[in-house]
C-alpha cells in the first residue's frame, strides 16, 4: 500500500468517526433549539455554528445528504428568531437526524 492508498484508507476511517460523532451531537442540537424556543437568542448562533460544522465536514467525507440538510439548518439559524423560525429549525433538525441515521445504516451501524 503506497502513501496515497494509506491516506484514502485513513480518510475512510475518519469519515466513519465523523458520522458517529455527528449522531452523538444531535441531542445537543435539540437542546439548543429548545433554548432558542425558550427565548435564548444566543443559542441560535450556537445552532448556526454546529450546523455549519456538520455541513462543512459532511461534504468533505462524502455525506452529501447530511451536509445539504445541515446547510439548510445553518441558513435558517441565521434568521431573526420567531416561533415560525424555531418550528423550521426543529423540522430541519429532525430531517438531519433522519439523514444521519440513514448514513449510519448505509455503513452498517445501527
Amino acid at each position: 500500500m503506497d502513501e496515497r492508498d494509506e491516506l484514502q484508507q485513513k480518510i475512510a476511517d475518519i469519515a466513519g468517526r465523523y458520522i458517529q460523532r455527528t449522531a452523538g451531537e444531535l441531542g445537543g442540537l435539540r437542546e439548543l433549539i429548545a433554548k432558542v424556543r425558550a427565548g435564548n437568542a444566543g443559542a441560535a448562533k450556537e445552532v448556526e455554528q454546529l450546523a455549519h460544522k456538520i455541513y462543512g465536514s459532511g461534504s468533505m467525507f462524502g455525506f452529501e445528504a447530511v451536509s445539504e440538510q445541515a446547510r439548510e439548518l445553518e441558513l435558517v439559524a441565521k434568521e431573526a428568531v420567531s416561533p415560525q423560525m424555531v418550528d423550521r429549525l426543529q423540522t430541519l433538525a429532525d430531517a438531519l437526524a433522519a439523514r444521519v441515521q440513514a448514513a449510519l445504516q448505509a455503513r452498517g451501524v445501527k
Partner: protein
C-alpha cells in the same frame, strides 16, 4: 523575490476531523512541517514560537474566527508578512472577495480533495513568490 520552498505550515480549524485530514494530506508534501491548532486564539499564541511560512485558516470558528485571527496577525509587526489562506465552506464569490480584501492570498473551498490539497498549497505558495496568488 523568491521565498524558497515551503517548509512550515500552520493549519487552524476547530473541527478535529478536518485537522487530521489536512495533516495527512500535507504529509504527502516532502519536507513540509505542519502544525495544527484548534482555535484562532491558540494559533495566535503559537505563532511567535513557530513563525510558519504560511497560515491556513478556517473561517467560522467559535471565539476568535478566521477573519479576526487574520486581522490580529496583520496588526502585529511580527506576523504582518505571513501569507494567509482561508479554507472554508463559505466560498461564495462575495465572501471570497471579502476574504481577499481582508488580505488573504487565496481561498480554498471545502470540500477539497485531500489527494490534491498538498499540491494546491504548494502552487499557492509558488504563486506568492511570483506575484500570481
Amino acid at each position: 523575490m523568491s521565498r524558497g520552498p515551503l517548509r512550515t505550515v500552520m493549519y487552524v480549524d476547530d473541527e478535529p476531523d478536518i485537522r487530521e485530514i489536512v495533516q495527512l494530506a500535507l504529509g504527502l508534501v516532502d519536507d513540509l512541517k505542519v502544525e495544527v491548532c484548534e482555535s484562532g486564539e491558540r494559533a495566535l499564541q503559537r505563532l511567535p514560537d513557530m513563525t510558519p511560512d504560511l497560515v491556513l485558516l478556517d473561517v467560522m470558528m467559535p471565539g476568535t474566527d478566521g477573519p479576526t485571527t487574520l486581522q490580529r496577525m496583520r496588526a502585529d509587526p511580527r506576523f504582518v508578512d505571513i501569507p494567509v489562506v482561508f479554507v472554508t465552506a463559505k466560498a461564495m464569490p462575495a465572501e471570497v472577495a471579502r476574504f481577499r480584501e481582508l488580505g488573504a492570498v487565496a481561498v480554498i473551498a471545502k470540500p477539497f480533495d485531500p489527494m490534491q490539497f498538498g499540491q494546491q498549497i504548494v502552487t499557492i505558495w509558488e504563486g506568492i513568490d511570483h506575484g500570481r496568488a
